[in-house]
Assembly symmetry: C2
Homo-oligomer: 460 residues x 2
């Protein structure tokens, strides 16, 4: 990046919102994935017109721009693979409006998920799609990745709550999509095209979310199963029962083992542990749902069923295993890939079996946790990245894993995105027509390929 | 359309699935709107490969193709404005799969909404977005228009349930979008680009829907208010209460008057009548919600609050006023435009006032019904289309109406679409950048402008 370009950037955002210091560039070379590449500079715009001016400059000078939130991506979405400029939206962090009557929250992209949740809480409202990184991730990133979370089965994902966007296009034009109304079918749905687009076709500078009243009562239970078949059958029967739990999480044997080796939780090392949560307006309704679920657990040979005593903080105890999983897994080895895939719910047991078989075949540890209620699994691959043989085994296992996912009617990613991590597998899920249309869309919005280039396998 | 083209069409679909008889062409000149234009031929394809062959032919010979379901559009979406070929998908009417474990229904586009509902019912499941035309409209049309209905506030609209599509592109290629998994962020969201695209960029030939378990218990109540302010305040307070009714419908004074003049229902002619429905798994929960809502009705000076006795079919009685509205309004005059707009919920009273003022100003009858729970209103304009003066007044009132809608932060259409009816107003809601992007998308998918040409204001 030439000095004149850097000067122009400083002019746009001000000295204090520009950096090209080595320490910053090293920090911005990574996100939460295993990928890295150093950018040439970074800016913190504070207004939409600055973002627009930056994009105009980038289009003229043809340098890559990588929009970035908190950098929590597990698939390399925020890594500046081709260098260029990091556009850190973290300083555009204002909650512009919370409007309960109209059921809306309007935010800048740098607002942290938990901040919005805190602001909604006094009104009895919440923003349902809560990713595991909710305490640090920014809402702009959530929209750009269509973030999911544990409430997906009942409440959907980020896309289901984005009503309108302000987006800066690669050429600097400011596009307004959607409507602040609950319903609108006025023209093409441009909003959803930007949700999950991984910063490759526009920079999100303002978001209007639909928000939900938060059901005041929850109930939590946990169950353990000695076989994947029993656990899988329980998941299916819950669906048939007509109950949609507000969460239905799973922890597999390898995860339970890893947790026991690294904590004193002394969890039973069964094939599969399920944690279910129900919610509602009244205790009677919420417990009715949970009773139905616990009956299904017992009928399917659960070796243990525990119902939390909500008044004594019992729910938190039941969540310990699920929530401690990542922290524990990070200790197993030098490197960690939190994988992400989804399969139809009925295929969850078969997928878990396949993951376990792959771990044996390639002599790897692949503990798995996931969202059983929507078929979204996270196999966590631990390895030593300095050992070429382990790296090779991880690569081979990954390829076999995703072939199996597609064979079962699944998808490469339920909530983490394609980024850099899934590029090699795009052809498994998307045929030539589908890839051609995606590439055409990228070219339409970003003909010079300056926005987050090198991502999503769009450069054939 | 040349004779050789007609012969080629017969070859593709068979003699029995082709027509150019005058009586058929006259029928296909109209949908449920006031627009009309005669096509040159019509076909009933029965397989995707036939649709593909038709589109290849249309691209080569450059004739318009208008995909059509049941033709229930109220905005001219299915009218062959530039002639050409009607592609009636009504004979592709197979329910391909209902999979409760995976929470999916896979259907062909010609399946009628009510047919799917009947098929899901024995499983205790339903497909929530139920348009008023549910007993006749086809699901392909529902997807192409992103159909809404009375359950929008709690359950969203069609877009929230479309997981995957098979689409035939204008050049005949067959595109597969989305995934049959509950969660997927694998590449751009091509699925949502086709939902609500009004048949202008692709022909939908297969749909995978997410389906929902149907809460077994409902409760219904009705309330009347002497002022719009009281009714509006009640709507706002319901939102603050944390309850989302499964339906919250409104009927205005002019509608009540029209109903009384044409039936013996003897309804109170108040400013606004609200009908609310709640649902849940248990009677206790469902009544708890309804009790909260009825308290809000009473607190805001409802002149009457009636709670249905569900065991005696009381709910049906409370719904009579709302459900008889269209039938009654159709009798007022020769012509009828069922308008469609949405505003933020808090603006519903102001919008109703504006509609009432416009009716007075232009000496028109504009009774209004609507979905108060999501701000979607349907002013129904009755007039005599043979009277040029009335037609002029309707046109002037419409323009003023939509200027007011946009001024209040609303949208031109909540669920009926742009079609032909809203083209003159597109510029009110969408600025040049937005229109430019929509036109670019149309050109990208349909460079020869053969699919449903002349719609949505995309031809500048």
């Amino acid at each position: 990046m030439e000095k004149t370009v850097k000067e122009a950037l400083k002019e746009i955002v001000g000295e204090e919102n520009f950096t090209d210091s080595l320490i910053d560039l090293i920090a911005y070379a990574k996100d939460a994935s295993e990928h890295q590449h150093r950018p040439e500079a970074a800016v913190w715009p504070i207004r939409t017109d600055q973002v627009s001016a930056i994009m105009k400059l980038a289009t003229r000078e043809e340098f890559p721009v990588i929009p970035r939130g908190a950098g929590t991506s597990l698939a390399g979405l925020a890594v500046p693979e081709k260098g260029g400029l990091i556009l850190d939206l973290g300083r555009m962090d204002r909650i512009i409006d919370i409007n309960i009557e109209d059921r809306l929250a309007v935010v800048q992209p740098g607002v942290i998920y938990a901040e919005l949740d805190r602001a909604l809480s006094p009104h009895g409202f919440f923003f349902p799609p809560d990713p595991a990184s909710g305490s640090v991730c920014t809402l702009g990133g959530n929209v750009a990745t269509n973030a999911g979370g544990i409430k997906g089965a009942k409440y959907g994902t980020t896309k289901d709550y984005v009503l309108a966007l302000e987006v800066v296009l690669p050429d600097g034009r400011i596009l307004h999509t959607g409507s602040k109304c609950m319903k609108s079918v006025s023209g093409y749905d441009l909003t959803k095209l930007f949700v999950g687009s991984e910063g490759t076709i526009g920079v999100i500078t303002e978001i209007t979310f639909k928000i939900n009243p938060k059901p005041p009562v929850t109930s939590t239970a946990m169950a353990t199963f000695e076989t994947l078949e029993d656990g899988g059958q329980a998941i299916s029967e819950i669906m048939y029962s007509g109950i949609i739990p507000s969460a239905l999480e799973l922890v597999d044997r390898q995860s339970l083992k890893a947790i026991n080796e690294n904590t004193d939780l002394q969890l039973p090392e069964v094939e599969i542990m399920l944690v279910a949560e129900t919610d509602g307006y009244t205790k009677e309704e919420t417990e009715f749902q949970m009773k139905t679920i616990m009956e299904i657990f017992r009928k399917n040979n659960a070796t243990m069923v525990k119902h939390a005593d909500e008044s004594k903080g019992g729910a938190a105890a039941l969540w310990t295993a699920r929530k401690s999983a990542y922290g524990v897994m990070a200790r197993i080895n030098n490197n960690l890939i939190v994988e992400d895939l989804a399969v139809p719910m009925s295929k969850v047991p078969e997928m878990l079996r396949a993951i376990s078989d792959l771990a044996k075949k390639y002599d790897l540890q692949i503990p798995t946790v996931g969202h059983a209620g929507d078929g979204n699994l996270h196999p966590v691959v631990s390895f030593d990245g300095t050992d070429p043989d382990q790296v090779r085994r991880v690569e081979e296992a990954s390829e076999e894993l995703f072939k199996k996912v597609i064979e079962l009617g699944g998808t490469l990613t339920g909530e983490h995105g394609i980024g850099l991590a899934k590029i090699p597998f795009m052809h498994l899920e998307h045929d030539e027509t589908s890839m051609d249309i995606m590439r055409s869309l990228k070219r339409l919005f970003d003909p010079k390929n300056i926005l987050n280039p090198g991502k999503m396998g769009l450069e054939a």
